[in-house]
């Protein structure tokens, strides 16, 4: 360490320094009772477990049950990932969270020219039911809950999951888990789409309606701000666009003829936790209050479960630095703590090496240990909403709520989130925020330790994980074998039924189950849908 030199000494704060949150909300030096004057504490803040849930969705919060440590993982082949999942279950983990590779996320098969070089890299490759069955071999789907991070092709992957359950003899009514299935944020931020927004929403409402009848314990959509933030939005934009997406899903399901209290209790949310500690806490508190009011007042929901915003949080991948990567552990710890003070139901902490590659096992273990230290050693989980009632945190919660409401109204005035997306509104707002952020980092106005302050010239490289390129060839062979063994007649018949149903208005889910059971591949189904639904080209804004 003694050979390392700081290239820039700390500088004293100048008189010019502006005090504000990461989203740009101005901050006072001190907050007092008068800052609560505009609000109505009993109504706005209330009690935990009660409308509007500002202080948390459960009365006893982490005393009743600590948040779930839910780390997202998976890479390579279905066989490798199955081994990993079984290992995690043996370690006492109750829920699984699977990562799919990029071709699967885009509905493509491993033998597609666009998939070259990407098979099994960032997650597990799934082409046919055979792969998904292998992924869950010897894992009783009746007993575990599975979270699947998949969006555009989610209904087809879910059909594979249902078919796997059927083969295992597990009743669909017992299945528990979550599909991300949030296509709107794909157009806004992550850009993994297959079809234009409107037919995509039909796929989602078909899945939601199907689950209401057949898979009632399944969480049908995880409405995600995470990716919006990673794309460069502010915390306020993340809050507003995520809730606007939620409003969009509720409206679509209502238009499809569902009753509000029938499907909304199965919606959940997924937020980011970035560097600005209090702003992240306030964001989660404001999110719960906003959603409760939207559900009760705007949509007339009567079931308290419809009012509750259940949240998963992941620390901010985009905040990690390649420079001095061990410092990322400190960042992640603070972000995780903010998520806990914000009252999250589950949490993923990132690994320190993720600006280089998927995490090594050591780095991933350290990320889990970080949460275990918070839950078992820090003592913070013993008291419900410990920051509640703080003049500052309540005022900030109030302001986050107000700013986000303003953006949601702007979107309402445009005709809703789909119309806003088609006009490029959220995309442009995010591009602007992300460029501003980068300029602030580059100018040094925003300090990032190790990047623009306290740099070291001799950063020693850290170990990184590499993926065996043979995974791709093995998967190609597997797929070729299945294609040669299945009944072509059944494949054609199943795809005809998908096509016919897509043109009509009947629920598509049963046709997907039938297709995957005939070993139709993911892209054969998605490609057939694309013939009917068309594809999507965005008008990029930068």
């Amino acid at each position: 360490m003694s050979t390392r030199k700081n290239s820039s000494p700390p500088e004293p704060a100048t008189a010019k320094q502006r005090y504000r949150t990461q989203s740009g909300l101005p901050l006072k030096e001190v907050y007092t009772e008068s800052d609560l004057a505009g609000s109505n504490p009993p109504r706005e803040i209330g009690n935990s477990g009660e409308y509007p849930f500002t202080r948390g969705i459960h009365r006893t919060m982490y005393r009743g049950k600590p948040w779930t440590i839910r780390q997202f993982s998976g890479f390579g082949s279905a066989v490798d990932t199955n081994r990993r999942l079984r290992f995690l279950l043996e370690q006492g983990q109750h829920g699984l969270s699977t990562a799919f590779d990029l071709p699967t996320l885009m509905g493509r098969d491993s033998d597609d020219p666009l998939s070259r070089g990407e098979v099994g890299r960032e997650g597990v490759a799934i082409d046919t039911l055979d792969d998904l069955e292998t992924l869950f071999r010897d894992i009783p789907l009746e007993k575990i809950s599975t979270s699947m991070t998949i969006n555009a092709p989610a209904p087809v992957i879910f059909a594979m999951y249902l078919a796997t359950a059927r083969r295992q003899g597990a009743a669909w009514s017992t299945l528990r888990g979550t599909l991300q299935n949030d296509i709107l944020k794909e157009y806004i931020a992550q850009k993994e789409w297959l079809f234009p927004p409107r037919p995509s929403l039909r796929l989602i409402t078909d899945l939601v309606a199907f689950c209401c009848r057949e898979v009632p314990k399944w969480n049908t959509i995880s409405i995600s701000g995470y990716h919006i933030r990673e794309a460069g939005s502010t915390a306020v934009q993340e809050l507003a666009f995520t809730l606007a997406d939620g409003i969009g899903y509720v409206q679509s399901c209502l238009e499809a003829g569902l009753q509000v209290d029938e499907f909304t209790p199965r919606f959940s949310f997924f937020f980011n936790s970035h560097n600005d500690f209090f702003e992240e806490v306030a964001k989660l508190r404001a999110a719960r209050r906003l959603w409760a009011v939207i559900m009760r007042e705007r949509f007339g929901a009567r079931d308290p479960r419809s009012w509750m915003l259940r949240a998963h949080v992941q620390t901010a991948g985009c905040s990690l630095t390649a420079q001095q990567p061990y410092v990322n552990v400190a960042r992640t710890t603070l972000q995780a703590l903010a998520a806990v003070f914000g009252g999250t139901q589950s949490l993923h902490t990132n690994s320190l090496d993720e600006t280089y590659a998927l995490p090594t096992e050591e780095a991933a273990t350290l990320a889990v240990r970080t949460q275990q230290v918070i839950v078992h050693e820090s003592g913070v989980s013993q008291v419900v909403d410990p920051l509640g009632g703080s003049y500052f945190v309540e005022d900030l919660t109030h302001r986050m709520e107000k700013e986000a409401s303003r953006l949601i109204h702007t979107i309402d005035d445009m005709g809703g989130i789909v119309a806003a997306i088609e006009r490029g509104f959220p995309q442009r707002e995010i591009a602007e925020a992300s460029y501003t952020y980068q300029r602030e980092v580059d100018s040094g106005e925003r300090i990032i330790v190790g990047v623009n302050r306290y740099q070291q010239s001799d950063d020693t490289p850290i170990p990184t994980l590499s993926i065996d390129p043979e995974v791709e060839n093995d998967q190609l062979k597997r797929l070729e074998k299945i294609k040669s063994q299945r009944s072509q007649r059944e494949v054609t018949r199943a795809l005809d039924r998908v096509r016919r149903t897509a043109r009509g208005t009947e629920n598509l889910m049963p046709t997907f189950v039938e297709a995957v059971e005939a070993q139709v591949t993911l892209w054969e189904v998605c490609g057939t849908l694309r013939e009917v639904f068309g594809s999507y080209q965005e008008n990029p804004v930068f």
């Binding site: 990029l102 071709p103 996320l105 885009m106 493509r108 020219p113 666009l114 998939s115 070259r116 070089g117 990407e118 890299r121 960032e122 794909e186 992550q190 850009k191 993994e192 990673e230 794309a231 460069g232 985009c318 990690l320 630095t321 390649a322 420079q323 600006t355 280089y356 590659a357 998927l358 591009a431 992300s434 460029y435 980068q438 300029r439 980092v441 580059d442 990032i448 190790g450 990047v451 623009n452 490289p461 990184t464 590499s466 993926i467 080209q537 965005e538 990029p540 804004v541 930068f542």
Partner: protein, 142 residues
Amino acid sequence: MKPHPHARILVGKVGLDGHDRGAKIVARALRDAGFEIIYTGLHQTPEMVVSTAVQEDVDAVALSILSGAHNYLFPKVLGLLREQGAHDVVLFGGGIIPEEDRARLLEQGVAEIFTPGTPIQKVVDFAHEKIVPLARKRRQAG
């Protein structure tokens, strides 16, 4: 009257990766610095990118890859550029790219790979130093 651009640069996203935050920031910074930017949009194949590069007669191609497919995609685009006779087009890029992969790609002929934490000015400086002289030469020759 807009000043004459320093050079034409294609900024592209190849493969299935949709993470375009970095690509768009670089595109905008280069545009603000006086370069002409052709942004391909998402989900391009190497063939599509190279065909656009040749048609638009660009001086450089910048690829952003965050999906881990860099070891396949950079050499593929480089090979196609050479096949199309575009030997003098500068290929550079950035993304989540481990150091040993970066070194190998530079050896293969990629002009520069920028990794997370790079100040945008460094990319702009690179464009001035490495692309502008080449663009001038190409225009004189053409």
